[in-house]
Amino acid sequence: MAMATREAYGKALVELGAKNKNVVVLDADLSKSTKTADFQKVYPDRFFNMGISEQDMMVTAAGLATCGKIPFASTFAIFATGRAYEQVRNSIGYPHLNVKIAATHAGITVGEDGATHQSIEDISLMRGIPGMVVINPADAEETRQAIFAAAEHYGPVYIRLGRMAVPDIHDQNYKFELGKGEVIREGKDVAIIATGIMVAIAIEAADKLKEEGIEATVVNIHTIKPIDKDLIVEVAKKTGKVITAEEHNIIGGLGSAVAEVLSEEYPVKIKRIGIKDQFGQSGSPKELLKYYGLTAEGIVKNSKAILKIS
């Protein structure tokens, strides 16, 4: 099965809405794309369309949160974190209000809409706000559980979701734990630390590496902040070589976060796979992933490079 994390978000919201009456949802005229329309259908009274005004939406969500509501505010990642950055920072982050920013269409896999709509800086922007939790789920089940975990956690949470369908990695037996990474494969040669849609691609890369006799550890870092330092240090100690993979600029995202941890705690050689400090462009999601090297082949190539195998 394959499902976009935004689809899973829409379904999770409906489920959450039934369990928690304080959950309210706001959208900025993209409810059919962000899938908050699913919630609107079932709970029209608790859904607020704010029109195309993301700044107003974020601070309205803040106001609702001061009255005990648990607002989920949704739009595309570029607008949630870019257009409304200072509103998120000053009216949600600084007062540490219980607002959940669930942003879809993150990264280059937005595809055809091109660079204006492809957010490659959002993790960096949200990670820099004190007290903000940053989650980037890898598949449908992880999204579902992350949405519930976000609602349970008091305080601002940024949840990064995608447009494109991604393969299922987890089933219902999976237990999502906020702030804890997940070891998906164990291998002694290299650790591939991935987030979001890159987790499935990292697993594919590990399979290819195995065929060539290279054993890779694959770690899923769904919570980029607070990051699971212990696990990152543990896999660095075990393998001595770390690759990071994210659908985000290599500046400020997962790669930076992992480099911060390891340079302080246990310096090892790191290679960061991501968008190399450039803007995206129009194209199909698959073409774009290939063009920017966010593929299993790209991870294999970088793994060999870090292992100095040609």
Binding site: M58, V59, T60, A62, G63, T66, Q87, N90, S91, P95
Partner: protein, 254 residues
């Protein structure tokens, strides 16, 4: 307070203090001994730089000791340079970055409607901040959701940091603009307690739409050398000026 901190915004604080006084001592249903009481009326000081006026009002109302007022802006104080709801008892929202308060007030008013609560939400806007686009996004939201439990009060002193609004970037006609956005609009003298009182009652009685009270005020009101002086937007008085100001304010019974 501002002179002790050697920092602050006396002009815009003095222009809205009569409004704050009316709200806290006559109109608002609040419990200073239980600042987070969920049925309380709420206030958002969107022009967060007038924090000293709000802090003084909250202290007078009994949210905290008046002695604390002298700690304004000092390291570790519960009275931050701009309102921080996490630090100060009685603050309903963190503000300071202009243009955001109306949206926050809308959120509170929406929550009140959703929960079928009778509380009212007040928001104090500055004139200069009407230049922020978000104000108009929020003005549209309040009208769209028929937030008649929300009253916005514009502290219209006509002056902003770089000069008179009409020279910096004209905001007029404010009345017609808000009417066109679907609001009920009332214009008053913002230093006439009787007019403030009546306008707030009229807002309460207005159904199906939000109300804007345009309160024509004087920046630096009550202190002769500060009145209508742009220079007193963001500067603190020295000791001599402080004493003169206090003398004048006390003499006028404020």
């Amino acid at each position: 307070m501002i002179s002790e901190a050697a920092h602050g915004h006396p002009g815009g604080s003095l222009s809205c203090v009569d409004i704050l006084t009316t709200l806290y001592f006559d109109k608002m249903n609040v419990k200073p001994d239980n600042p987070k009481w969920e049925d309380r009326d709420r206030i958002v000081l969107s022009k967060g730089h007038a924090a000293p006026a709000l802090y003084a009002t909250l202290a007078k109302k009994g949210y905290f000791s008046e002695k604390i007022l002298s700690t304004l802006d000092k390291l570790g104080s519960i009275l931050q340079g701009h309102p921080d709801m996490k630090s100060t008892p009685g603050l309903d929202m963190t503000t300071g970055s202009l243009g955001q308060g109306l949206s926050a007030a809308n959120g509170m008013a929406l929550a009140g409607k959703l929960d079928k609560k009778g509380y009212r939400v007040y928001v104090i806007l500055g004139d200069g901040e009407l230049q922020e686009g978000q104000i108009w996004e929020a003005a549209m939201t309040a009208a769209h959701y028929k937030l008649d439990n929300l009253t916005a009060i514009l502290d219209f002193n006509g002056l902003q940091i770089d000069g008179p609004n009409r020279e910096v970037k004209n905001i007029e006609p404010v009345n017609e603009k808000f009417k066109a956005f679907g609001w009920h609009v009332i214009e008053i003298d913002g230093h006439d307690f009787d007019q403030i009182d009546k306008a707030i009652e009229e807002a309460k009685a207005t159904k199906g739409k939000p109300t804007l009270i345009i309160a024509h005020t004087i920046k630096g009101k009550g202190v002769s050398f500060m009145e209508n002086q742009v220079g007193w937007h963001g500067s603190a008085p020295n000791e001599e000026q402080r004493q003169k100001a206090i003398q004048e304010l006390e003499g006028s019974g404020v």
